[in-house]
Amino acid sequence: MKSLIFQTASKYLLPLLLLFSVFILLRGHYLPGGGFVGGLMAAIAFILHSFAFGLKETRSIVRLNPRYLMPIGLALSIMAAVSPWLVNLPVMTGLWYDEPIKLIGMVGSALVFDIGVYLVVIGSTLTIMFSITDTI
């Protein structure tokens, strides 16, 4: 789609949407949000960009093949899931650091799990979108 307005808008929208997706990811622990929604939002940011500038351009921004985001995210989630074993608790128990950290808020194994989900969702959505648009 060659539209000047759309292209200019999406150039600024990309960082904004990515920032917002991180915000959604972080506030997901006590308020609505979380890794899945944040991931989708980040993926949408890239998809919007690819609508405006074409797939090649977006690929060059993402650089890393989105396929590799999936195993990285999964590995993070697995680590978060099994971390309670270290203190002899059942799998997936939430472990929390007592004091909230500035900007991020409460930090715990659930946050790491959510970051993993975030990466998996970005990776899989982008892989799906790229492979669909590739074959059209």
């Binding site: 590799y68 195993p71 999964l74 590995a75 697995i78 074993w85 203190v87 059942p90 799998v91 997936m92």
Partner: protein
């Protein structure tokens, strides 16, 4: 310590899949890594099995939430036996695929998906929560969708459409059933459901819910009126994929059926009649279907249906002896069916076709290999020292005990049909002189393979054949195992008690 072992098989398969994903473009590394990881996974399942066999039921509450609220993972003897069998089949298929799959197919993530599939199966066998069971079912079907379409041949895609559509429909039914169950009881934990469903007076609603589960699991396990997707799709993917499908995917439906109908919907006359009728017709239609076809993959596909009927018959009779037969048959069937599809894969590699009319001369050219292949073939029939015989014995004993003579007649008929078809396969493929084999334009024949690849094709068959010989010859061990499982299933109080009273770990 013990709470780690319960979920370790699942998490281990997940970790293996993730590890393999990192090596997406390095097929050689994937081959070796997958075989090693599967071996390690088998070891982990063995340890879990031994632990449960010696110590009894193990329970862990994931997330440290107490019983009816969180998701419980329960490792009872039935579940861990199935986990062990899934690992066995996974190992065999992982090795077999390294030589039988073409590189073009392996490139699209066959190995990671195989491990995801095994993870889903093991999760389904270990979970104690009905919604979590649904989630594991979805993990299984999404990875099986990928496996069935890998390669993207025309026939594969056609089969995949049917497979995908009906499996999606089955999940919808499963979800409706769960919605009803949650609406009725307000609980999802299977042990808790077992208690709460008993207290509900509205039996009609319970029966409707049970029928929804029956349809959902019936589509998954391919029973009589719901099996049409199976013969349309199972012969289309490459033999390694068909082996894992034929060995495990339909069996997980049977597992779910046994679990729900012995734990949640217990002792319902209406259901057991329906189950028995469905079982009888499944045996008949599967057997007759196997008789007509000439494509090895299709014949074995119909055998899956026919033998699912046997297991259903056991569930329908609902006596301890019959459940014992079902469990024994499950153990035997997973090993043998996986093996059979691998055998059909080797036949395809040797001759370039799977049509039994065109095939022939196997015994003349490969006498030792043919004798090896005879083991799974005749185990399937149940010729006495081999493994299928014992299970059928229990079915018939169980039937006599509960006066289900018609069902016994169908089981005997099904066995005869199996015998007839296997005899035909043996005569056509192995004894007949093979002269006019069509030449394949592409693809590598067995004799052109390297020594290591030949070994990779034959070793899994040897491995599974040894196991099925053990099931047949060392039957007393398997009998005592399935007796114990049947006892646990028919008296679920210990299961319920263990789940509900599991203490939480203190921080």
């Amino acid at each position: 310590m013990s709470n780690i072992w319960i979920v370790l098989p699942i998490l281990f398969q997940l970790t293996s899949a993730v590890l393999l994903l990192f090596f997406w473009n390095y097929i050689k590394i994937q081959k070796i890594l997958s075989a090693l990881l599967s071996l390690l996974g088998l070891g982990i399942s063995l340890v879990l099995f031994k632990e449960v066999y010696n110590e009894g039921l193990l329970v862990t509450q994931s997330g440290n939430w107490s019983a009816p609220f969180g998701i419980s993972f329960v490792a009872d003897t039935f579940g861990t036996t199935m986990v062990l069998l899934a690992s066995v089949a996974g190992l065999a298929v992982s090795v077999f695929a390294s030589a039988s799959m073409t590189k073009a197919r392996l490139q699209f993530g066959f190995y990671p998906m195989l491990h995801f599939l095994i993870m889903g199966l093991q999760g389904a066998f270990l979970t104690g929560d009905i919604f979590n069971l649904y989630v594991w079912f979805e993990v299984i079907i999404i990875s099986s969708f990928v496996l069935i379409t890998i390669g993207g041949k025309k026939a594969q895609l056609e089969g995949a459409i049917k497979y995908v559509a009906l499996n999606l429909l089955a999940s919808v039914f499963f979800l409706i059933g769960i919605a009803f169950l949650y609406g009725l009881t307000g609980s999802l934990n299977m042990a808790d459901l077992a208690l709460k469903v008993q207290e509900i007076d509205n039996k009609g609603l319970i029966n409707v819910t049970a029928s929804l589960f029956l349809v959902a699991f019936g589509i998954k396990s391919a029973v009589f009126p719901l099996y049409f997707w199976l013969p349309a799709s199972y012969h289309t993917p490459p033999p390694a994929v068909a082996a894992i499908f034929g060995g495990l995917l339909t069996k997980v439906g049977v597992y779910a059926m046994v679990r729900t109908f012995t734990l949640i919907f217990v002792g319902d006359e209406f259901l057991s009649v329906i189950l028995s009728v469905m079982a009888a017709l499944t045996i008949l239609s599967g057997g007759l279907g196997a008789m007509v076809h000439q494509h090895l993959g299709k014949i074995f596909g119909y055998f899956i249906i026919c033998h699912i009927g046997f297991m259903m018959a056991g569930v329908g009779m609902m006596t301890e002896l019959a459940i014992m037969g079902t469990v024994f048959y499950l153990v035997h069937d997973i090993v043998v069916k996986t093996n059979l599809f691998m055998v059909s894969g080797i036949v395809l590699k040797i001759n370039g076709t799977q049509n039994i009319k065109e095939l022939g001369g196997m015994y003349q050219n490969y006498p030792l290999l043919s004798l090896l292949m005879a083991i799974p073939l005749f185990s399937l029939v149940g010729i006495p020292p081999l493994s299928g015989f014992w299970a059928k014995l229990f079915f018939i004993q169980g039937g006599l005990e509960s006066n289900e003579y018609l069902l016994i007649a169908f089981i005997v008929l099904g066995s005869f049909l199996t015998l007839w078809v296997i005899a035909k396969v043996w005569a056509e493929v192995f004894w007949k002189k093979g002269e006019n084999l069509p030449k394949k334009a592409r693809g590598i024949y067995f004799r052109e393979l390297g020594r290591r690849q030949k070994l990779a094709l034959i070793l899994p068959v040897v491995f599974l054949s040894i196991i099925s010989l053990y099931i047949g010859l060392g039957a007393e061990n398997i009998v005592s195992l399935s007796e114990r499982i049947a006892k646990e299933l028919m008296n679920p109080e210990a299961y319920i008690e263990a789940v509900m009273s599991k203490k939480l770990n203190a921080l």
